[in-house]
Amino acid sequence: MTSENGELKWVGKSPIRPDGADKVTGRAKFGADLMLPGMLVGKVLRSPHAHAKIKSIDTSKAEALPGVKAVVTSADMAEMQPEWVAAGEVQINFLDLSNNILASGKVLYDGHAVAAVAATNSAIANAALELIEVDYEVLPHVIDVEEAMAPDAPILHDDMFTQGVTPTPDKPSNVFKEVDIAVGDVEAGFAKADLIVERSFKTAAVHQGYIEPHAAVASFSEDGQAELWCCTQGHFTVRAYCAKLLGMDLSDLRVTASEIGGGFGGKTTVYLEPVALLLSRKAGRPVRAVMTREEVFRASGPTSGASTWAKIGVTKDGKIVAGEAILKYQAGAFASSPIQPGCMCAFAPYDVENVKVKGYDVVSNRPKVAAYRAPGAPISEHAVESVLDEIAKKLGIDPLELREKNAAKEGTNAAYGPKFGPIGFADTLAAAKAHPHYSAPLGPNQGRGVASGFWFNIGGESCATLNVGEDGTLVLATGSPDIGGSRASMAIMAAETLGIDVADVRPIVADTASLGYTFLTGGSRVTFATGMAVIEASKQVIETLRERAAKIWDISIDAVIWEDGFAKPAGANAGEFEPMSLGEIAAQAGKTGGPISANSSINAEGAGPGFGTHICDVEVDLETGAVTVLRYTAVQDCGKAIHKAYVEGQIQGGAAQGIGWALNEEYIYNDEGRLDNPGFLDYRIPVASDLPMIDTVIVEVANPNHPYGVRGVGEVPIIPPMAAVGNAIDSAIGVRMTDLPMSPPKILAALDNGS
């Protein structure tokens, strides 16, 4: 591989993405875009109640309606046991999953699916939903996490006895589990502190807000085999979940990942997919089910809202001597929330001897949470980064310098356990300090805030297949749905490794029948883990190419080297041969041993932790409480940017989502426990006129475990914005906002209380 020694030809550049043409012409096929002959329309009946017992469901009138071809309820699902089992890399309680997809016994949130129909058109399907009679006994509900933890709270699950406590409680509660992380002795640490700051915060449940609603097209054959087309971050995960829920063999279910219109973690589980399969099996025809936007908000995963508390002790020169946090995360109606990573990340960016974090995983009558960019981390790190800002202001220390004094480095024992290898946190702080943004002047009612963020990044199982065509072009198949340009990155890494033109590599996302198991797109793993599989397959192809050249030249394979896309004799002793290109060797493949291809199947280990530091300027309208983000700069250690423009794009997009989380996004429930804002009108994601350009600075401290140094990008940028915005608001108006979102009414009320 020449690229490891010399100049990189493709890595770090920004070639036009291979799937780009289809996406700018409308030709790309997303979840809802597939039509099959005889296809029916599937629709789901959802609970209008936050918490109710299902006394009975009568589907007979719906079934009798002309044009209705199937009606299903939870009775049509395979029976599940209440146990946590491995599904790919994650643990899944299939009983919960099954009950979330079609409620059994009780409905646990507004929007909980109860039944589904397949009909010849959508008007008939809607009419059929109205004809399904569900007799509910409405039960008391609970929405807020603290209220759900109260001793007299309505209990969602009679069999939920808090895990992680000894002895296990004998009464059920809404606390699924408690998590404890502790190093050192926080009491002794706080005793050494010159300054201790503690503060409580609340963060709202926020939705991933992908623009494409969930969609699935299922087609079941009479012999029990089925095909499923859906927009998902992990079609192998979909296959695993659906096969289990329907009692199918994995090999009988072929899942194709459509183009996916955003996911951010929210498309890592299943909602409609098993329902479409059930309906198709029952109707004997293909079924397409597509969520409305309202259904997306009511019934697909937001991330946790939370109550948090952080306490940090420092010496007067700014050295952190102890950190403590209590985190209470909403899980939604079923266990579990991302409390574990939340607890692990809270103090991870800092070298602190004494840390104690206590986490609670709490169910309430809300939709089950799903992953959302760096699951759990933005919530806990928001508390810590906000308290740090307060400490910097109280000590009169520059907030970046305070962080530099305490930044984790190579060799630091992370508060959550491991010892860090090479990491770039300090580099991001230095780059932020040096950025012209950090020293630009501010006007009246304007303020600047900074905050940092940490995410583990992950590896996991990935497969890749490289098929060399007779003309020397290659098809590269991976099992990672491409959510933000990853096919471009895969092609770059293959082309770089092979020393060929990136345009000669055509990357595709293969279906579950065409490739080995590949864990889902998430956790910032694809460029790292699937990238390693691609590099591995490319190296195998190089081996084959050398072997074929050796055969053609009739010399030993050891006498052939691969350089800049050509097989060459290793030296003068190897003989005099003209270098042969990949194309020339491929053209003779039939005569030299058959088609050239390679498969690699790996479980990538050694993901490199990612760190980022953001700078945010705001202006506050003192009379309305409106906050304008004036300028935003995001610095991040990416290890190595494979496709530079898409790395920037990940950082910009994550920052924008974090700004939305900070300022305007929230799930609003009414007194009956119904979601009051299930649409883009009142669930307010940032629009183009809300944001400034988002400047990015890419720091590259190579991850030694990846051939090109990749760490992963997508998760980290959503972590700092909430605190960066809050810290900027505090700098502008001298008011510490503790309740997210920091919407205008809250800011005006805080200003009025403060003055």
Binding site: I16, R17, G26, I211, G649
Partner: protein
């Protein structure tokens, strides 16, 4: 339920279709005419993924009835490229990596084209406000705005 017969022009082609009274123009485009480049992100006019032009005006096709198209001209994303060559905006979006997942891209392109037809030299603020009805959750808008501004500059220079 009697269907309505509608004669219209779609991307320059005379087109006829039958629709039910309550079918939106978006439903007709996607389900009857199989032009699935216009996307449904919300069905309430809040996301812009279904943007098309009707009688020369930029609209959300989810907020018009199919029947309203009678006698009018409709332009969709499918009509934007000229044969096998991209519209300059399409080219610029590709060069600037102004799309990630791509679901909002058709709507942004149709909306941006409509802007540049009216204003060949928009300011950043004008572009941002014109496109405020097109939601993008992936990009933070940065590269989209840059692509539109640079395209406008190129088209003025050309």
């Amino acid at each position: 339920m009697a269907k309505i017969h509608v004669s219209t022009t779609v991307n320059g082609e005379p087109t006829e279709f039958l629709c039910e009274p309550q079918q939106t123009l978006l439903d007709v485009l996607r389900d009857e005419l199989r032009l699935t480049g216009s996307k449904e992100g919300c069905a309430t006019g809040d996301c812009g993924a279904c943007s098309v032009t009707l009688y020369g005006r930029l609209i959300c096709s989810c907020l018009a009835l199919g029947a309203e198209a009678e006698g009018h001209e409709i332009e969709t994303i499918e009509g934007m490229a000229d044969g096998d060559s991209f519209h300059p905006l399409q080219q610029k979006f590709l060069e600037h990596a102004a799309l990630q997942c791509g679901i909002c891209t058709p709507g942004f392109l149709v909306a941006a084209k409509s802007l540049l037809e009216r204003n060949s030299d928009p300011s950043e603020t004008e572009v941002r406000y014109w496109l405020a009805g097109n939601l993008c959750r992936c990009t933070g808008y940065d590269k989209i705005i840059r692509a539109v501004l640079e395209c406008a500059a190129d088209m003025r220079g050309a």
